[in-house]
């Protein structure tokens, strides 16, 4: 059965590949999107892929996902640790939510340890690099279509 996944990326992820590559790697967000779309084709997932630096825009996409998506993969980036409005928006989403971080945030400075989004996430992936997106998509397929 095919399903729809909305993948949402937060602030500064537009600079992926250029931004502190020692932490975030050399892969760009466009390459991640291409990999997600190709994997989506293989597993029957329709992918909507977004990035914004704008908290309000991310909230609007989460609202849209309530009608347009069966699952959400969200990398809220810096907003992970500060945004109660994003937490509130995710609370209204009924399907599975995978929270994703490219780096292992728990290994880093303390400001990156306390995620607000984890309180509503079905599962959390941190530290798998860009491959985390593919793992999240595979996990969603398993959650929505249990064998």
């Amino acid at each position: 059965m095919s399903f729809r996944v909305m993948i949402i990326n937060g602030p500064n992820l537009n600079l992926l590949g250029e931004r502190e590559p020692e932490i975030y790697g050399a892969t760009t967000l466009a390459q991640i999107e291409a990999a997600c779309r190709s994997q989506g084709g293989e597993i029957g997932a329709e992918i909507a892929f977004h990035q914004s630096n704008y908290e309000g825009q991310i909230i609007d996409w989460i609202h849209a996902a309530r009608k347009e998506a069966d699952a959400i993969i969200i990398n809220p980036a810096g907003l992970t640790f500060t945004s109660i409005p994003i937490l509130d928006a995710l609370k209204m989403f009924k399907g599975p939510i995978i929270e994703l971080h490219i780096s292992n945030i728990h290994k880093r400075e303390e400001i990156y340890h306390r995620s607000l989004v984890s309180k509503v996430a079905t599962a959390v992936i941190a530290g798998l690099g860009p491959k985390g997106y593919g793992v999240a998509l595979g996990a969603i397929a398993g959650i929505l279509n249990p064998a």
Binding site: P11, E20, N53, G56, E109
Partner: protein, 149 residues
């Protein structure tokens, strides 16, 4: 190194001069901009002067600055104490960053004592009123000159 400097101002600074003048003084942000332009000319710096109440707009300007500028003077106002996203954006910049606060934030309420931005700033100025901006520009010019030398 570029002699272009971004001067970025966060939320509520558009109300400078009208907003609690006992804390922030009577000078408006337009006055501050005029002071900065005069100081920049004296230091042979070009400046882009911006203010926004929107976090993402400040992030977008930082992204723009990282491509073209030699430094940033930033008064993140209340975002100082809350925005990991602005900190992350500043982390992508390789030039000096000076953090400015008009009031002495450390004299005020405890929630204003912690700054995310300070962890990436070359220097911090707090409590010099609007003069803090011209002091920050002087420092930045020196840092840019030193990098050149």
């Amino acid at each position: 190194m570029s002699r272009l400097v971004y001067v970025l101002n966060g939320p509520n600074l558009n109300l400078l001069g009208k907003r609690q003048p006992e804390i922030y003084g009577a000078e408006t942000l337009a006055d501050v901009e005029a002071d900065c332009r005069k100081q920049a000319a004296a230091l042979s710096l070009d400046i882009r002067f911006h203010q926004s109440n929107r976090e993402y707009e400040i992030i977008d300007w930082i992204h723009e600055a990282r491509e073209t500028a030699g430094g940033i003077v930033i008064n993140p106002a209340a975002f100082t104490h809350t925005s990991v996203a602005i900190l992350d954006a500043l982390h992508t910049c390789e030039f000096p960053i000076i953090e400015v606060h008009i009031s002495n934030v450390h004299k005020r309420e405890p929630f204003r004592h912690h700054s995310y931005v300070s962890s990436v700033a070359s220097g911090v100025i707090a409590g010099f009123g609007t003069q803090g901006y011209t002091l920050a520009l002087q420092r930045l010019a020196k840092l840019i000159d030193e990098k050149k030398a």
